[in-house]
């Protein structure tokens, strides 16, 4: 594929300095690009080394100039670049329609332009919108409702009555709507508490591979709009995840916890049940959160503490043997002083 720099500038709402007729045939990272590629530089470090890329053109911030290269000035070079990647690597063409090797239940209602791949199984009373792609091996159970512009990767499982909004992406191996882990002790045994609620996933959510999102006991487990989860994330029953929150790989959130909007939880963090994580909170990797967190806090560690404090604590931990030795030495000196009195 060949796109002229002029056309590229249009695509990303940018301004050209240099040769607008130049043809670009690919995209590549800064140090890997060749003469026919476009790349981007969005931080001072790279902008200083602008002469070191072999790219034929560079997307830069609006206020950056340089005579020796073809530039496309934009508001956000990284997002502009992402748009170009989509332009240069269009998705492979889809099989259109419903495969004869898919198995569709009764009362299936669907919009236009859907792609249902071989080996998909759809239950009864399922509704899907326009531009829905359901890849091979995915199972949709009875009563599920799915919006427009959806991509379900292969081997996804969406269980009874769960709902998906618009522009939702769900990666392979993920299970939406499995039972919450609810049991009442009955002597040494456990009696299963029926899990009758659903999972509701709002617009613009992307769920990574092999996540498990439990249905609510009653009501809903709720993933609000713009949430993005990485792989192997566990979200328990009756949890709410606020808008535009990021959950990094292997995070686990226990039942009935409410997570605010625009939160970031780093990898392998764990959050206990029945607490409230405020808006804009950042939780460090491997943190173990045992209590509610106010808005706008950055916390780390297990048990959690303010992140700056954790940085100090984590520097002292490897020095504990030294500290202990020092304490013993001081005690010995003190004994001597006491004796000498």
């Amino acid at each position: 594929m060949e796109i002229s720099l002029g056309k590229i500038a249009e695509l990303v709402d940018g301004k050209i300095t240099g040769d607008s007729d130049k043809d670009i045939t690919g995209v590549a990272p800064f140090f890997e690009a060749i003469e026919s590629d476009i790349t981007y530089a969005d931080n001072k470090k790279l902008l200083k080394r602008i002469s070191e890329t072999n790219a034929g053109a560079i997307i830069v911030p609006r206020d950056f100039t340089c005579d020796s290269a073809n530039l496309v000035q934009t508001g956000d070079p990284r997002i502009a670049f992402a748009k170009l990647v989509d332009a240069f690597f269009p998705d492979m063409p889809l099989r259109k329609g419903i495969s004869s090797k898919a198995c569709i239940g009764k009362k299936f209602i669907h919009g236009d332009n859907i792609s249902i791949y071989p080996g998909v199984v759809v239950g009864d009373n399922v509704t899907v919108g326009n531009n829905v792609v359901i890849h091979a091996g995915t199972v949709i159970e009875n009563g599920v409702t799915i919006g427009d512009d959806i991509k379900l990767y292969p081997n996804v499982t969406i269980l009874e009555r769960c709902t998906l909004g618009n522009r939702v992406i769900i990666h392979s191996g993920t299970v939406i709507g499995c039972d919450g882990f609810g049991f009442a002790p009955e002597g040494e045994k456990y009696y299963k508490i029926p899990q009758k609620g659903i999972v509701r996933i709002d617009d613009d959510v992307e769920i990574g591979a092999s996540n498990t999102i439990d249905r609510a006991t009653f009501g809903k487990t709720w993933i609000k709009s713009g949430v993005k989860t990485d792989n192997l994330v566990h979200i328990a029953h009756n949890v709410t995840i606020g808008e535009n929150t990021l959950l990094v790989a292997q995070v686990g959130i226990a039942g009935s916890t409410t997570v605010g909007r625009h939160v970031i939880m780093a990898g392998q963090a764990g959050v206990t049940g029945h607490i409230k994580i405020g808006d804009n909170v950042i939780i460090g990797p491997k943190a173990g959160i045992g209590g509610s967190i106010e808005d706008n806090q950055i916390v780390s560690g297990a048990p959690e503490m303010p992140h700056r404090l954790w940085l100090k604590v984590s520097k002292i931990l490897p020095r504990l043997p030294e500290l202990r030795k020092k304490l013993k030495e001081i005690e010995a000196r003190l004994c001597k002083v006491e004796e000498d009195k």
Copy 2:
């Protein structure tokens, strides 16, 4: 659905105070219930606030009384409530029989009243009992034996020769009988130790979504009766899990470890291999267990320690910078004292 309070009392073996003819149409949590719902209160906190629920009837402990509401007195209100949830939310009707879009191997032996959904693949020499439901996309390999009253959710995998008892539930994405992680070093390379044992799952076990339970090298990995696991739990080869043990989400148990009965492991805990966890042990969230634990202990932390000690330690951790400062201050004062002698 409408069930009279009299009928409800029968279902849960309870005694009514109030209007036994009252019709109930739903179940709901204490603060969400409306006039046509029944709810429950099983602790002092809720029982004190009994006037604050709008529920038309309340399930309470046998010794609780109150004139202003319709009560159903029972032995265990939570379990009684769970039974009513099942009554009010019956499972969706099942497709009966073996779907023509399932694929069944040779010498399939099965009991009465089975439901095998489209897209299921069953290998050769598989035996299943009565009232077995196998949902779409689930794969059962050769030689698997399955008891009565079983529910396998979609996209489960049960590998060669594994066995399931009666009343077992397995949630989506779970893999039973994958190879144990066994390799012998051969220079810098590794030679695969064949994994020829099985996984044996006993009666009344419920396995959460996306668990991985490895087959034994020889013999069996054994999940004893009444065990319940949450999502994304890993159980390695030759592990034994005792009766009525709970494993919360993202727990990992390494090879050849024996876990006692009625144990609870909280979320993200990890247990090393070749050790013994006693009966009735409770292991805290994110704990890292490096050695055997006696019966009836509560442990937390990594490395593990008695839970009460861990609570103290975890309060000191954020104060380490302060402690270090104090130590320095004391040393300075001691120096002064020494000089002044």
Copy 3:
């Protein structure tokens, strides 16, 4: 099955002391073996107790002798035993050919002796070599290339354009080539960075159950030859894993990190992004690695530290309350000394 000791010695390149005509009918661990079994002893502890096994023959190191038992002396008894396990427990016979209930895309190119099971879905332009087994429910997307002597267990997902070398085993539930977790902030929202690279898996790799291995943003996520992963391992985009590295269960590795050769990461360890782990590094269980590690180091803890130091630190942690008390006591004594001056 019956194999004479003479034949066994041939199979494992060993030398017999004792009865080479003796017939062996099974393999078993040292203390479980019966008279018709062969077992092995590869360490001093077992070799001292050689008279305590009931096995009819014992595989031992080349330099070990003993008159009272039939011995097979070999270079590596454990590997010799593993080979015998394979001989006594041959894999169940495979369905040969492509099942009529599999669904194969356009331009499928394949070698000899392939087994494609019912319910498999293969996309367009897929190439597989000789002796390839693809079990039920596995999905291979467009443009995937797979070498010789491959075993894909049920319900595996291999996404667009990924490549597998020769002698690769992938266990059930694993997803190869899901999107990396890449988003650019756009106000409070996130813009998806397209993930256009692939996953490349080299020869002799074994990937455990329910792993998630992300495709690169550009270029490749690269699993080099001889790597073995346990279950529920997460490998993010643009990661490279060096030759013969072991990743134990529930390990997570963040984006763009490079792991050296012959590394071992123990269970539940986590590694941050954009760092370099040297060759022959050993990382302890639950370690949280925040920075690059030089070759040949053994590290543990979160934050990571040399393993020997971690052992000391982990012994002091449970004694922190004691240390704190001691510090208070010393301060009180010091005050007294100061007053008495």
